[in-house]
């Protein structure tokens, strides 16, 4: 363990988690200004946190310090800290670093003794936490001739791999959905770092034929993983992880039900974090995060409380595509300034079709995981016909009594850009709800900077 450069990102996350825990523990602190501003706070902090504090977005600190956001913030930072710590220890013990696409079940990887590192989370979390975001990773790979129209979701991490800031992959697992860009960048990673790429096809059709095919693919993936790792998939271990997965799934579905209430009892700032922790479905950490969110949301719902200032009229926004990772405070600002609550988006909405994994035996578990993989956010919307994406959001808008559809178009998402008009047309036709469409990059703030995002949102919600 002489060279820990490749743990830089994991170590940063851990320190950020500790720093945020320290700050959240300060009684009565509601914003950095309470202590005299960022520069003053830096001096008060223990020295070991100061460098990390310089990296963290000040607006994010102010957001998590708000009373209504503290509980979800604690859950958030606890998970970052715990994951980074766990991953470091497991890698130190010689376990294999398995980079995987985000909707893929980690239950299987964990049961086979691997360390799952979600490729997309490496980039996403950095974008969310730090002022420098993930742009240096993006720039690094673009410098090698890979163009700006490829998805930053993978480019950020690919760049970090080239910079040696995150562990080299021992293997990669990728579903064939959602897109060519992600498929190709996983292939690039496997080639560049000479790591095996295990691919898993996702069928176009969500029917029995599709499910059986997905199941075959999962079984084939397991065979390949057994060969690569030398470990055999244990039924007992898989069951225990599936139970954690079911617990998390249950909480997510319950939170979604509670959000149908008016006023919406859930805060919006952590929605990108929800996506990140959906990659932990199947771990105790994932279950705990969603349990804590659920308890908070339920408490508010039971009391009939919302998350917008008293006296403001609630406008319920559905994000028919996605959030901007680099600006989590935006969603808090929308609540505070415009009374806009965040119902859901494609990356956090879990269709109730997902169901729970039947843990009776190996076959039922694998079938359940196959089905869940087909239903996970992004996979569900992009693996087949556009109708699934479009109809889901028409139904969501109706079920949640939404007032606005927000379509922030991630610039590199060819799927989105080929169906956004159909989606907004159908929503207008069936619900009369207006759509705000604009261009952005989920992780690269240079495309639509936070100030510009606010201007676009303000303009729309002022005239809504």
């Amino acid at each position: 363990m002489t060279n820990r450069k490749d743990r830089t990102i994991l170590d940063n996350w851990k320190t950020t988690g500790e720093l945020a825990t320290f700050i959240l523990a300060q009684e009565g602190l509601q914003s950095l200004d309470d202590w005299g501003g960022k520069e003053v706070v830096r001096e008060i902090l223990p020295e070991k946190y100061q460098a990390n504090f310089d990296m963290v977005q000040p607006d994010l600190i102010n957001t998590i310090l708000k009373e209504k956001n503290r509980r979800s913030a604690s859950a958030f930072v606890k998970n970052i800290m715990e994951y980074a710590d766990w991953a470091n220890q497991e890698l130190d013990s010689g376990k294999l670093a398995c980079y995987h696409y985000f909707p893929i079940s980690v239950e299987i990887m964990l049961s086979m003794g691997m360390v799952p590192i979600c490729y997309e989370v490496v980039c996403g979390l950095n974008s969310a936490l730090y002022t420098t975001g993930t742009e240096e990773g993006i720039d690094r790979i673009e410098a090698d001739g890979y163009p700006d129209h490829l998805c930053s979701t993978q480019k950020g991490t690919a760049g970090y791999l080239l910079m040696g800031l995150t562990p080299k992959p021992d293997l990669l697992i990728k579903t064939a959905t959602p897109c060519d860009a992600s498929n190709k960048l996983y292939e690039w990673t496997a080639h560049k770092f000479k790591a095996p790429l295990v691919t898993m096809e996702t069928p176009y059709y969500r029917n029995e034929r599709g499910l059986n095919y997905m199941l075959t693919e999962i079984k084939e993936m397991i065979k390949q993983l057994e060969k690569i790792t030398g470990n055999i998939l244990s039924e007992e271990k898989l069951r225990s992880y599936c139970l954690h997965g079911n617990e998390a799934t249950n909480y997510i579905l319950k939170i979604q039900e509670l959000k149908k209430k008016t006023p919406c009892p859930d805060t919006g700032w952590h929605r990108p974090a929800d996506t990140i922790f959906m990659t932990q479905i199947g771990t105790p950490m994932g279950a705990r995060y969603f349990k804590e969110l659920y308890e908070e949301v339920k408490e508010r719902a039971d009391k009939g409380l919302g998350v917008i200032p008293e006296g403001k009229k609630e406008r319920r926004a559905v994000y028919g595509y996605t959030w901007e990772a680099y600006d989590l405070p935006l969603f808090d600002w929308l609540e505070e300034e415009h009374g806009v609550t965040y119902i859901c988006d494609t990356l956090t909405y879990l269709s109730p079709d997902v169901g729970l994994v039947d843990t009776t035996n190996m076959e039922t578990m694998l079938k359940g995981l196959a089905w869940r993989t087909m239903q996970m956010p992004m996979g569900r919307q992009s693996m087949g016909f556009s109708d699934i994406w479009i109809n889901d959001f028409v139904n969501i808008i109706k079920a949640y009594k939404a007032n606005a559809l927000i379509l922030g178009g991630h610039v590199s998402c060819k799927h989105y850009w080929a169906l956004n008009k159909l989606l907004s047309d159908k929503v207008k036709e069936e619900t009369g709800v207006p759509t705000l469409r604009f261009e952005m990059d989920m992780f690269d703030k240079r495309f639509t900077p936070p100030a510009e995002l606010r201007r676009i949102m303000e303009e729309f919600f002022t005239t809504l």
Partner: protein, 374 residues
């Protein structure tokens, strides 16, 4: 009109007489935009398999209502062509999940165009046994749907005949590629591109007949010897000889390719023995893969290298349409591997409609200076 001239001029003619006659005789046409659609099945059903392209489309105003500036201009031009009514002659349209942008045309087409029948054939992204079984079932379903919707027969015998017909094309086209391997070349790359485009837009029996005659004409043609460098072209869908003309106008001679409108589509025959559907599935699923296939980079690299070495090229131009993600990653990867093997590579970004000719010429001129042998 001589056969060669007929084949070379057809793609640029305003009216396609073969299509006109076919329709006048009550024939029906099924279009497809990608090389993973097995034409033999359409042919066996007595329909006209029409390889769709969007050559000559100058703007995308209609298409951009549904697509955007972040989608590739091949998909946008194809949709533009259709929305402008130029594909109104289609009775059926077979799409597939070849790439994200092409597959998303399905729903737009369904809602905003009037083609009688739409089909979707899905191709797995990884080459393995379960993927093959899936694809085989997909094309079997496609065959059944064609027969059912058009009320036609598509028997094993019909499939065998279609395979023989298309294999004949493949063999003739292989001859064409062989002729270009010579130091003194009887036909330019842009002329070959036009011939191959003709294959997709005329009845195949007639194409084979004309190509046979054209090959004799080509052999008798004066040889081209005054080129500066032998060039291979690869990359995104190229349905237009214009780019090849630019390369050849600057002294390059395009002698081979790894294009889906070229060698990747027309080489590799289908086995004529055994179950014909199985044989068709094998050919289309396992043939030199498109970058959309995952985990196949080594095979594509090998294929590119073999084609380059086989035609003794001095350099490769990998042209990619902006927003084509498959080739955007593949091209620099190939360049990185081929350059150390003394195969110079230029990665050239372009739009489907080649408009910024000045920039393209400057880049190609610079590449020519690098690779010129004389």
């Amino acid at each position: 009109m001589k056969a060669l001239e007929e084949l070379m001029s057809l793609p640029d003619r305003r009216e396609n007489p073969y299509l006109k006659d076919w329709k006048a005789d009550g024939g029906r046409v099924v279009g497809f935009p990608c090389g993973y659609v097995p034409e033999e099945i359409i042919q066996a059903a007595g329909l006209f398999p029409y390889r769709m392209e969007a050559r000559g489309t100058k703007e995308t105003g209609l298409a951009d209502i549904y697509l955007s500036r972040f989608n590739c201009t091949f998909a946008r031009c194809l949709l533009q062509t259709a929305l402008a009514g130029e594909y109104d002659f289609l009775d059926g349209f077979c799409l597939l999940n070849g790439c994200d942008q092409i597959r998303r045309l399905y729903e737009i087409w369904e809602k905003h165009l009037t083609t009688d029948y739409l089909f979707m054939v899905t191709v797995p992204h990884a080459i393995n046994d379960s993927g093959f079984a899936w694809y085989r079932e997909e094309i079997s379903n496609f065959k059944e749907q064609l027969a059912h919707k058009f009320g036609v027969r598509c028997s094993e015998q019909d499939l065998r005949q279609a395979i023989r017909l298309y294999n004949e094309s493949r063999s003739l086209i292989e001859e064409l590629y062989e002729l270009r391997k010579a130091e003194e070349i009887p036909i330019s790359g842009s002329e070959v591109t036009s011939i191959l485009l003709s294959a997709g837009i005329m009845p195949r029996e007639r194409f084979n007949q004309l190509l046979k005659e054209a090959l004799d004409e080509i052999r008798r043609k004066p040889k081209i010897t005054d080129y500066k460098a032998r060039v291979m072209v690869g990359g995104s869908a190229l349905d237009n000889p214009q780019l090849i003309e630019i390369i050849e106008g600057l002294g390059g001679m395009v002698v081979t390719d790894s294009l889906c409108f070229g060698s990747r589509h027309f080489l590799n025959p289908i086995e004529e023995e055994g179950d014909p559907l199985e044989a068709i599935a094998k050919r289309y699923y396992y043939h030199n893969p498109c970058p959309r296939m995952m985990g196949e980079f080594e095979n594509r690299l090998r294929f590119t290298e073999e084609m380059a070495r086989g035609a003794n090229v001095d350099g490769i131009i990998l042209q990619k349409i902006v927003f084509c993600d498959g080739h955007a990653v593949e091209s620099p990867m190939l360049a990185e591997e081929l350059e150390p093997q003394n195969i110079p590579v230029m990665v050239l970004e372009r739009e489907h409609m080649i408009s910024d000719v000045g920039r393209i010429k400057t880049r190609i001129e610079a590449f020519m200076e690098r690779i010129a042998r004389r």
